[in-house]
């Protein structure tokens, strides 16, 4: 109760200073930004706001004790990395003066300019940044609605306890078993992720359970990212281990029988890993504007098209053309948004020509990687981000140098978001 009173008092003070800011730009106003979600988008935005303008108070709301990276988490399944290797504490953000509140944001109220927390508190804001990642559309797979189904058939598409649990399921699976990975229709978080996961699990099987198989059931008509590169890895490294079936959309799951039901026929496996269709994280539900799934924003400020003063980042966004739902993109969104929010709170115009670079590595073994890269700039006429003609591309082939660069990428982006 005492803490709640304190937070409310803080909120009132912030609201009072906003008025001062509006009437006298540059005055010693202390505006407050509340960031919802400490993933690649939210953590980066929080850190960069403090770097750009230490006068702004930043509160980050995040339920998890530490950041656990989705990128590299497939290597935990492969047995090449541990959970500790992909976990980064939030202490670095606190050292930048970000107040990290360990709670779950349940709603963002653009009228009251408040974020409501599951613990009962409310946080007032001058601007809110919402970066909640994805939620799963379990309704697309009725058998998964039961809680016990969700503890036996895992997604492991949010790195954390499920990553470790899926690794244990793979370890417990007898040699000769079949690992079935069901991929939803695009768009979903991390387009190449499922194909990388197939490589990592296959690498584990090749070394430890050579009679086992990886069966990919893809709702899409073909591999949707780095297709030729992945297929080469599958045929050259994992020839008799990985089987790929396109146009194989899961319509239901019988968790007890370990069966994925497709539009035509059932597929039984020993370990099922089902990625349901995805949509914007639930706290952003009020800001969804496309297909009841994704949030549209102004690409200069990342301000929601549904609510003034609320900015949305990362995998919750309705993507611009050729923009993947990737960690590097969310990190880039976080920095463009941070600079825009700092400008707006200081009465300055935001950068009218933002640039984004995406670099996305996939580990096809313990050491070999492949990449896709793109450069995106703001198109004034269509008011969206577009790739620069002639830029971007794919790896010439899988190679160890890019494997080393991929590991460096992880170290550098974790520091850039969280150090």
């Amino acid at each position: 109760m005492r803490r709640r009173d304190f937070l409310k008092a803080g909120a009132g003070a912030a609201a009072a200073t906003l008025a001062g800011c509006a009437s006298a730009p540059g005055a010693a106003a202390r505006a407050r930004v509340v960031v919802v979600g400490g993933g690649y988008g939210g953590a980066t935005a929080a850190r960069y706001i403090r770097r750009l303008d230490p006068a702004i108070e930043v509160v980050l709301v995040e339920p998890n004790e530490a950041f656990v990276s989705c990128p590299i988490s497939n290597m935990v399944l492969g047995g090449f990395k541990s959970m500790a290797d992909i976990t980064v504490p939030y202490a670095g953000l606190a050292a930048h003066g970000v107040r990290v509140v360990r709670d779950t944001a349940t709603a963002v109220d653009p009228q009251a300019k408040q974020v409501r927390l599951a613990g009962g508190d409310t946080l007032a804001y001058d601007r809110a940044i919402v970066s909640p990642g994805v939620d799963f559309m379990w309704e697309a797979l009725p058998g998964m609605a039961r809680a016990e189904a969700q503890t036996t058939v895992l997604h492991a598409w949010k790195a954390g306890p499920q990553t470790q649990m899926l690794r244990r399921q793979l370890e417990a699976m007898p040699d000769g078993g079949v690992f079935v990975l069901s991929i939803p229709e695009a768009p979903y978080r991390c387009p190449p992720g499922p194909y990388e996961r197939a490589c990592q699990v296959a690498a584990y099987f090749k070394a430890a359970k050579p009679r086992s198989k990886v069966l990919l059931l893809d709702a899409n008509g073909d591999v949707i990212s780095k297709g030729a590169l992945f297929k080469k890895a599958w045929s050259e490294i994992y020839r008799d281990i990985i089987e790929y079936r396109p146009n194989s959309k899961a319509v239901d799951v019988d968790a007890a029988a370990r069966v994925v039901k497709l539009e035509f026929g059932d597929v039984k496996g020993d370990v099922l890993n089902v990625l349901p269709p995805m949509k914007a994280g639930s706290v952003a539900a009020a800001f969804i504007t496309v297909n009841r799934r994704w949030c549209e924003v102004d690409w200069i400020t990342y301000e929601s098209k549904a609510a003034p003063g609320v900015h949305v980042l990362g995998d919750s966004l309705q993507i611009a053309p050729l923009m993947p739902k990737s960690a590097t993109m969310a990190n880039g969104h976080g920095k463009v948004c941070a600079a825009a929010v700092v400008a707006l709170l200081n009465g300055q115009p935001p950068n009218p020509s933002p640039t984004l670079i995406n670099t996305c590595y996939s580990m096809v073994s313990d050491k070999l990687a492949i990449h896709v890269s793109t450069v995106h700039k703001y198109d004034q006429k269509d008011r969206t981000m577009k790739t620069v003609p002639g830029s971007g591309g794919l790896s010439a082939g899988m190679n160890e140098l890019e494997g080393a660069y991929a590991m460096s990428w992880a170290k550098n982006i974790w520091e850039d978001a969280l150090a």
Binding site: P354, S373, V375, V388, P389, S391, N412, I413, E415
Partner: protein
């Protein structure tokens, strides 16, 4: 009657011909002019951080080249080498082609002024 039939046939023929035409290339993008103000360059340079570290200072144990504190001319030369395909790269040739001469010069200047 005959005329109407002919008109319908002509319309069908025109539709078929249109369908067989190769799709027109998308119009070139209308990119906003690069923002070369200090804040604009800083924002552009922030895109290099996921691989090269915040402000071009790589994390401990990173095998990617640092950018902070490198000579301005050296960065420009490398970027142009990547762009022209004269310098070996895994992906930098693909990234460099996304930036014009003025942007590369401004980025090089920015990184040359960052402490190592």
């Amino acid at each position: 009657m005959k005329q109407r039939a002919f008109a319908a046939l002509a319309a069908a023929w025109a539709a078929l011909a249109a369908a067989q035409q190769p799709a027109a290339p998308p119009p070139p993008p209308s990119f906003a002019a690069p923002n070369l103000t200090p804040a604009g360059v800083r924002a552009m340079a922030a895109n290099c951080a996921p691989c090269h570290g915040t402000d071009g200072r790589p994390a401990a144990g990173s095998s990617v080249a640092p950018l902070a504190g490198q000579a301005r001319e050296a960065i420009v030369e490398k970027m142009n080498g990547f762009k022209e395909g004269k310098r070996e790269a895994t992906l930098m040739h693909q990234i460099a082609r996304g930036f014009g001469d003025a942007e590369i010069a401004a980025l090089a200047d920015y990184f040359s002024h960052q402490r190592r």
